[in-house]
Amino acid sequence: MKPAKFEYRAPRELEEALSILAEVGDEGKVLAGGQSLVPSMNFRLARPAVLVDINGIGGIDSVTSSSDHLVIGTLARHVRFERPVTDGPLGHLLALAARKVGHRPIRIRGTFGGSLAHADPAAEWCMIATLLDATMVASSVRGQREITASNFFKTVFSTALEPDELLTEARLPLLNPAAKIGFVEFSRRAGDFAIVAASSVLDVEGGRISTARIALGSVGGTPLRSPAAEAVLQGNVPSGELFAEAGEAAAGDVEPMGDIHGSPEYRRDLVRVLTRRSLQASTEH
């Protein structure tokens, strides 16, 4: 479990990092928190020829709010979100999710941007980005571009980022102050990747659900929204029965893969209950 040989570069400026990435292309890999990359290298599953350590670059770990977005710098560590970073339901949602990210040592080191770029379909931040249809900002020597979550996650460990691009920030839309948020996971141990995770945001107007968002983690190559479950909820009065119906619809929306911790059938079963529980929890806050 010693990594294969690699060259280590530690730029101090963003421009320098981007030019290194442009120079090394496919051969390079960005090191942020290293909580997934370093174990992969030790297992020799990842063998980057050049490791570009961005931890020495200043100013890319900020978390700021604009009028309609929360802007998260790529190096913001998970631990930062354990307490709400912004007032209202978004900060609360992020705090619920943050506490499920690995164990505390992982949260102290691991980064928001690193998790998105790694694109594990079980990762909390990837699911949140999908739930809120976050905007990812990719920077390169060629300039900057914005990529929405639905276009960003391609499949397991694969994103729309080009080899010369660095994910520099993520923009999450602020939520309606009265939005009802839910986030639940099921795993065999605390801190493990979820076997299935579910999250939801509901806006309720005049006693009826005006908008519904449901996202699921660990049920496919990327986190998924459940249009069927959202359609079930839309325009209806929140209730246990309605949430159960949404759970059924969500279960019908997914084609999960299996592994030793859960077969496809079991994961589908969990989608049913966790979707319902996420919605239920959101209305109990």
């Binding site: 010693k2 040989k5 099921f186 141990r189 605390a190 209950v273």
Partner: protein, 771 residues
């Protein structure tokens, strides 16, 4: 100063908690080479060609060996002698023609640094002809080699007229249950560093558990004299049965140190550990009870299959023998028959792990007792009470041999510990919590399991105590320490006799050049065997010290007592000499004057033909999430009678730590294999060890009601009882939570498996509402 029975802090902790521990990986020698093992990526194949050319060209690579280079080294033998039937199944140190499991060593790379060694190992190319893979231990036996098949042996244990009992049975109850493949995963992985010292001796650091036996085995394999090999044990980060056995890598580093004439170091990495170090458990039992009209179990018949993996390693048939011998446990069971199939498969070989054979056998037996209770429509406690061996029947002999000893439960009061446990569980609030949670419609259950352990395996152990001229006391033992507190316990025994504090006592263990004999640390034997030998040696030393003091004080030895480290005339404390003064008086000149043998030292050997049998009860309070199948253990109780606790704090630590490992096997840990023999749990992401979050609070009821008559302190071993009945108790508790007797038939209880069970059982009305 009475030290026995006191919870004094561990003397071994200061270096460990201040970063001054010396584990094998901490030892570095000038000019050392690093060994990296090339392991088979396939489960079963003939090796057709190994290409090491590219690897040899890497800078820093010194040598690469394949099976051809070690063909003259015999396979690794069994610690028990004479098991010739199992000889064909022994593992070579490097596979030469055939590989039999993923992870089997097939080449060894030696390089100047560990990175180069790993790079080179990646460049060793092996061509295979793949062969049929066996992953199911219950499949029909297949050929193993030309002369033998995959049923390595059949373990048979029986007594009484089982046929007649079943013929006359009022009811028969059968269950099929299994315990998955899991094992001890110490924090420190294995490791070894071998160096050829002046005079040509090979010294291997990194020994553990059984250094003396391994010294002899390595010497024999390498064609050396026993005295040409020295094994040294440093700090060891956990053993649990798996660490310290003789593995291919230990022999390879010694051989390499000889051949390459340089220190050779090998540190196992975690990925290797999970496929290279002994696996354990993995038994399927079909077990049947004959029950008479009074609900008394008149006979038990058990057939089980052990998935031994690809080879029979150093333990030979120890695990299945223990399963068979210990399965009847605390119950009378007048007739018993057990047939255990040792089956070879294409998986990592299996060996002992804390409570070997008993975790599995206890699960099978206690599941059977629960099934009998369900059949009789009664509380499982009632069934147990009726079948327990009575206090007045102790000692209780079963016509069974276990580990070469006649099985006789030496002492115990089984009915009493059951009642005490029930009262304790209530007292600790488990019953109240059960009721409260039930009232709020949670799926909770309380389960119990009884177990009998064995400990203190002989046949011998020794201790030598030396007092230096400063009065420093050194106890040299043949014991081994995996971190369980050997130094503290032995120092307490010694200090108790000599009336000195443990701070002045240094305990030596695991050094084969310090004492000629030592059987090591396994089978919960160190406190019983080495402890007793230490007490005997300390008493002999005291006799000598009093005699020497008598000369100094011009008194009669019978009038001299030992008080706070000094020897004084009883009734005249002003007439006293220190232990140091006594030791100095025994220098060669002084001893000549008094006609005594020089040096203040004494040696004693304790021998025994019988084991001691501690026993206890586990109780679990669990909560089941019926929608996910998730299980949470809310509370846990272990009641354990170990005769006499030398240090109750250490005993409690052993029990709680053992319980954590029992939990792992019950709910989380499993080496899963694909149909083609690929291991699927090869990192800590997939091999799920319990963490602090999964551990419930454990309440320990430590009892000393039944000291053993087999040693003067009355002690029984305490190392394994926290583990033994964990799976059985959790299974009973889950059944209770589901109100579905017999729901749990397999460990670990995975949420998916449990969810299926829940979906299949009759739905109760409380389930329908939103939870």
């Amino acid at each position: 100063m009475r030290l026995l029975g006191r919870s004094i802090p561990r003397v071994e902790d200061p270096p460990l908690i201040t970063g001054r521990g010396r584990f094998v990986a901490d030892i570095t020698m000038a000019g050392e080479l690093h060994m990296r093992i090339v392991r088979s990526p396939v489960a079963h194949a003939r090796i057709t060609h190994i290409d090491v050319e590219a690897a040899l060209e890497l800078p820093g690579v010194v040598a690469i060996w394949t099976g051809r280079d070690t063909a003259e080294i015999p396979p690794i033998d069994f610690r028990q002698e004479g098991l010739t039937d199992l000889y064909p199944y022994r593992q070579p140190i490097l596979a030469e023609r055939e590989v039999r499991y993923v992870g089997e060593p097939l080449a060894a790379v030696f390089a100047r640094d560990p990175y180069a060694a790993e790079d080179a190992a990646d460049l060793v190319f092996v061509d295979f002809d793949e062969l049929d893979v066996v992953v199911d231990p219950r499949a029909d036996p297949a050929p193993f080699d030309e002369d033998s098949d995959t049923e390595a042996a059949l373990v048979n244990v029986s007594y009484g007229d089982v046929e007649a009992a079943f013929a006359a049975a009022h009811r028969r109850v059968t269950v099929e249950v299994s315990v998955g493949r899991h094992t001890g995963v110490p924090m420190e992985t294995r490791g070894a560093l071998a160096v050829r010292e002046h005079h040509g001796r090979i010294v291997m650091y990194g020994a553990a558990k059984v250094p003396h036996y391994n010294r002899q085995a390595i010497a024999l394999m390498l064609g050396l004299g026993i005295d040409d090999v020295v094994l040294r044990e440093g700090h060891v980060g956990g053993g649990f049965g798996v660490r310290g056995e003789l593995y291919p890598e230990d022999v390879l580093v010694c051989l390499a140190a000889l051949r390459l004439n340089a220190p050779v170091k090998w540190i196992e990495d975690r990925k290797e550990h999970l496929v290279a170090t002994n696996h354990s458990r993995d038994q399927v039992h079909v077990i049947e009870a004959a029950v008479d009209a009074d609900g008394f179990i008149t006979a038990v018949r058990d057939e089980f299959w052990l998935d031994q993996g690809a080879y029979v390693r150093s333990h030979a048939a120890t695990v299945p023998n223990l399963t068979a011998a210990m399965l009847p446990g605390p119950y009378v069971i007048p007739a018993y028959e057990c047939r255990g199939h040792i089956r070879l498969t294409n998986k990592t070989p299996a060996g002992t792990y804390r409570a070997p054979g008993r975790y599995e056998g206890t699960f099978a037996r206690e599941r059977l007792l629960d099934a009998v209770a369900a059949e009789l429509g009664e509380d499982p406690i009632v069934t147990r009470r009726r079948n327990l061996i009575a206090h007045e029947d102790m000692p209780f002999a079963r016509p069974i041999r276990a580990l070469g000893t006649e099985m006789e439960y030496d002492s115990g009061d089984y009915p009493s510990i059951l009642e005490k446990t029930l009262a304790y569980v209530d007292d600790k609030g488990l019953c109240a919590e059960l009721d409260e949670r039930r009232a709020s419609e949670e799926w909770v259950g309380l389960g119990f399991a009884f177990f009998v352990e064995k400990s203190g395996l002989g046949p011998y152990e020794g201790a030598r105590i030396d007092v230096d001229d400063d009065g420093g006391i050194r106890v040299v033992t043949g014991a081994a320490s995996m971190g369980q507190g050997v130094e503290t316990a032995i120092a307490q025994v010694c200090g108790d006799v000599l009336d000195v504090s443990v701070d002045g006592i240094r305990v030596v263990h695991g050094q084969t050049d310090e004492i000629d004999y030592g059987l090591g640390a396994f089978a919960s034997r160190v406190t019983v065997m080495t402890g007793t030998a230490t007490q005997m040696a300390a008493r002999a030393l005291l006799v000598k010290a009093r005699e020497a003091a008598a000369h100094l004080l011009e008194a009669d030895p019978a009038d001299i007592g030992m008080v706070a480290g000094n020897l004084e005339v009883v009734g005249a404390p002003e007439r006293r000499v220190s232990l140091a003064e006594v030791a100095r008086s025994l220098d060669p000149s002084g001893a000549k004057r008094t006609g005594m043998v020089p040096t203040l030292s004494a040696e004693a050997w304790f021998t025994t033909e019988h084991m001691t049998y501690p026993y206890g009860v586990h109780a679990a309070l669990v909560r089941v999430d019926e929608w996910t199948g998730g299980v949470e253990i809310l509370r846990y109780v272990v009641a354990y009678d170990i005769g006499k606790a030398v240090n109750p704090m250490l005993v409690r630590g052993q029990i709680v730590g053992g319980a954590a490992q029992g939990l792992g096997g019950a709910l989380l840990e499993e080496f899963v294999y694909s149909d083609d023999g690929q291991p699927l749990a090869t990192s800590f992401m997939d091999y799920l060890l319990p963490t602090v979050t999964e551990m419930p609070p454990v309440d320990v009821l430590l009892l000393e009601d039944a000291p053993t008559p087999l040693n003067p302190m009355g002690v029984k071993g305490a190392g394994e009882g926290g583990t033994t009945a964990f799976g059985a108790a959790v299974a009973a508790a889950i059944d209770d939570a589901l109100d579905a007797p017999g729901a749990v038939t397999r460990l670990p209880v995975s949420p998916e498996r449990l969810r299926k069970v829940i979906c299949n059982i009759q739905r109760s009305p409380r389930e329908k509402g939103e939870r």
